[in-house]
């Protein structure tokens, strides 16, 4: 096989312990790529309608990217797929690290699990042999301990994906961890792995990943590095300079279209944390459980999360596989955990600003605690913020919280609460399944304090500041997802430079124009979804794609690696097919797309009275109808039309 993919999958039935190797026809890769596309194709066809996400019929897949291991860059992402127990519909989670090539080195593009094991097990694959091994001595250990133990046994080279205690305890906001703290966290798929009694997947293969045209791959990668190494003076700014830029961007009525090279420089210099203060200032970060505004978390409060301070703790940059940028970092910390992955922007704001917690030490600690437990930092922070609001409103009392004074900014209480969630202890047991489930259990009007899309807590990007986020939170088959599209993302992807017929955004515009509903907006949102679905099939990192479609040669890499001669437009159609099959998966599993709209509070209903997003209202309903139309889905219901499914060959 010299087409970049391995052409095979492994299907493991945990109930019977049988393993089946299946050849996948070329036509499937040509229509869906690998990664999330292949995962969607398999799950769409094999999970029966209405299957219980926590039952034996659900299938959990670990999918590598089509471009992973081909000499391309930014292509080391893998996708975890399954029916989500958190939202009841399509679920996927994306992760970097080194696990993606490990899947292919075992000769597979993806490994799937169905059934439920009678006892804790882990899968071990080495050189053509796959076995399920007893995991009794690993059950109960945290994600990092488990990985260390398995790597001690099988060598550092093995790719290891594990669940922590949160997954074992079937927390609906748990994920799957690799590389001592990279986590495929969203959609609650850790719970699926936990309920299947699958503690870990250890992939220890050495198969080569071959491509059609290795010289062309190298030429394209060298071109890509020119852009990732492109010097930008922004890196000389102090962290507070970024914050002040954010203040300006929050206040100015006029905005300029942004180039991904700016963001690349922030990622390279500080990592995602470079956005900490800047986002809070410009109205990108939701604060105080989406009730607060930039005025509630001014520079005087956010100074503790100045990216320069975080950078001081960094010993060395962390690069995921095949990444030339290195936005991650390994940090030294005092206390129980000596080394930790640098906390990401999302984690810092969810556990910080959203709970009004200013204590940086606690953020480092909670980040590592949650990574080890295998719990989503975004959902954990959002659920803690929900609980605090309930407490402040008297819906929860000291009796419910075992005496924890859940007040805004009470660091000790937040830390204690998250520990309870990880251990499913007391109030933590109720909160460990996310805010929607918790609100239903608490009752007493707690639902009004939740912010979610179809049950998934959205990420730390406020759709009132960039309405594109609200569109994607609401319309994606994986609701609440922030890594697909936004007004800003569309500007940075620069797709119109490669794909015919896409609108070019204005270089300078009034911020208010972002909120107007028109066809261009729908085209841009649809293009983001198609492009990222395609990118997730290829295993591409969104941060790489931000640098621009002309500079990061994804389409050309795909052609050189596979020998195909597809045009950018044809690749966008592949993305459209992946997006549509996921949407139809939801329809098949009786999800009403309209019920996935993000909570009214996050839509600006009621509008904020002050801060960067003052008065902003996003008409999600209208935006969604236009978006659905772009895909040939029904304008009123969001369900793919029969002719659309036929056109895309989805059966």
């Amino acid at each position: 096989m010299t087409k970049a993919y391995m052409g095979k999958i492994l299907m493991v039935d945990l109930s019977s312990g049988t393993m089946t190797e299946e050849a996948i026809p070329d036509s499937v890769y040509e229509q869906y790529l690998s990664g999330m596309g292949l995962g969607a194709y398999i799950l769409y066809n094999r999970i029966p309608a209405g299957a219980d996400p926590l039952g034996p019929e659900n299938i959990l897949g670990f999918c590598s990217g089509l471009l992973t291991g081909t000499g391309s860059l930014f292509s080391g992402r893998w996708t975890l797929v399954g029916k989500s127990p958190l939202t009841g519909g399509w679920g996927d989670a994306n992760c970097g690290g080194t696990f993606s090539p490990a899947i292919k080195h075992c000769g597979y593009d993806a490994v799937f699990f169905k059934g439920i094991s009678p006892k804790p097990v882990y899968l071990y694959v080495k050189n053509g042999k796959a076995v399920l091994k007893d995991a009794a001595d690993l059950w109960g250990k945290d994600a990092v301990e488990t990985e260390e133990k398995l790597k001690k046994q099988y060598g550092e080279k093995a790719g290891v994906a594990v669940i922590g205690p949160a997954g074992e305890k079937v927390s609906l906001i748990s994920g799957v961890c690799t590389d001592k703290g990279r986590i495929a966290a969203r959609s609650g798929l850790g719970a699926v792995m936990g309920v299947k009694k699958l503690k870990a997947v250890v992939l220890d293969g050495v198969q080569r990943i071959n491509v059609q045209d290795p010289e062309e791959m190298k030429r394209l990668s060298l071109k890509c590095v020119k852009w990732t190494n492109f010097p930008m003076p922004l890196s000389l700014l102090p962290g507070v300079g970024l914050a002040l830029m954010g203040t300006f961007m929050g206040a100015t009525p006029v905005m300029f279209a942004q180039d991904g090279l700016l963001y690349k420089t922030i990622l390279r210099t500080w990592g995602t944390g470079g956005m900490n203060q800047m986002s809070a200032e410009m109205g990108d970060s939701p604060l105080k459980n989406w009730v607060g505004s930039s005025k509630d978390f001014p520079l005087s409060k956010s100074k503790t999360i100045n990216p320069d301070i975080i950078r001081k703790a960094e010993i060395v940059k962390y690069h995921c596989y095949s990444c030339p940028l290195g936005c991650g970092g390994i940090c030294a910390t005092k206390g129980k955990y000596s080394h930790t992955h640098k906390p990401e922007y999302e984690s810092i704001l969810a556990l910080g600003g959203l709970c009004m917690n200013e204590d940086l030490d606690s953020l480092f600690y909670l980040n590592e605690l949650l990574n080890r437990a295998g719990m989503d930092t975004i959902s954990a922070g959002a659920t803690a913020a929900f609980a605090i609001e309930c407490y402040e409103k008297g819906i929860l009392t000291n009796k419910d919280t075992d005496g924890l004074e859940l007040k805004w900014g009470n660091t000790e209480a937040v830390v204690a609460l998250i520990r309870k969630m990880v251990n499913r202890d007391g109030i933590g047991d109720i909160l460990a399944d996310g805010s929607k489930v918790a609100a239903a259990k608490i009752g007493r009007g707690a639902e009004a304090c939740t912010v979610h899309a179809g049950g998934q807590e959205p990420a730390m990007h406020d759709g009132r500041g960039d309405p594109g986020f609200n569109v994607h939170y609401s319309v994606e088959p994986t609701p609440g997802r922030h890594t697909i599209g936004a007004h800003l993302y569309y500007e940075m992807f620069q797709l119109w430079k490669r794909v015919k017929g896409l609108p070019r955004p204005s270089l300078l515009f009034m911020k208010g124009s972002k909120y107007k509903v028109n066809k261009e907006k729908a085209q841009a949102s649809a293009a983001c979804s198609k492009f990222m679905s395609m990118g997730n099939g290829a295993g591409m990192c969104m941060f790489g794609l931000f640098i621009g479609a002309k500079r990061i040669p994804t389409f050309d890499w795909l052609n050189a690696a596979t020998g195909w001669k597809f045009s950018p437009e044809e690749y966008m159609t592949i993305g459209e097919r992946i997006q549509t099959i996921k949407q139809d998966f939801n329809v098949k599993h009786r999800i009403e797309p309209k019920n996935n709209f993000i909570s009214r509070r996050a839509q600006g209903n009621p509008p904020q009275k002050e801060g960067a997003n003052k008065g902003r209202v996003v008409d999600v309903e209208k935006l969604a109808a236009d978006y659905w139309e772009q895909f040939g889905w029904d304008r009123a219901t969001g369900k793919p039309k029969a002719e659309t499914l036929k056109r895309l060959g989805i059966k």
């Binding site: 080195h105 080279k157 690069h319 995921c320 596989y321 030339p324």
Partner: protein, 149 residues
């Protein structure tokens, strides 16, 4: 194309022990065989066979080379982008990323952590997108590059 074993094989098992892909099977003192589906063409078997009984992908017999003379990766870390592709490409796991940044930089760099395990296959060199790896015959006086880290 997979490597194969010719009739010269005397079943000593040296190839089987060095193969990182577990592609070679055979009983002691009987002819061995290579599973074409598992062979990764690293060439390690050819370098250890005392009988010149291993044929490469083109059917050419390999010559035994003293292990101390097997080529080893030399990495120019200054232009390395720390993408980690070489570390992943190594079938025996002899490369690793440093736990400290390179001089005056912030990035980690790959180094030959376990020189003894290196089979000189050159996959790291072949896969490096920046072409910063050379495969060189070790010079005795030179310090092992692992000491740098």
């Amino acid at each position: 194309m997979s490597y194969t074993i010719s009739e010269k094989c005397n079943g000593c098992g040296a190839c089987m022990r060095v193969c990182p892909a577990d592609a070679i099977t055979g009983e002691k003192k009987k002819a061995h065989a290579i599973d074409a589906n598992l062979c990764i063409e690293c060439g390690a078997c050819g370098k250890v066979c005392p009988q010149s009984g291993i044929l490469d992908g083109n059917g050419i017999a390999c010559t035994m080379i003293k292990r101390s003379e097997w080529p080893k990766p030399e990495i120019t870390v200054e232009t390395c982008i720390a993408c980690g592709i070489c570390v992943d490409a190594c079938p025996v796991g002899c490369l690793a990323m440093s736990e400290r940044p390179r001089n005056k930089g912030v990035d980690a760099f790959p180094y030959l952590k376990d020189a003894k395990a290196c089979i000189g296959c050159g996959f790291c060199r072949a896969d490096c997108p920046m072409d910063v790896i050379a495969m060189l015959k070790p010079v005795k006086e030179k310090k092992a590059s692992s000491e740098v880290a």
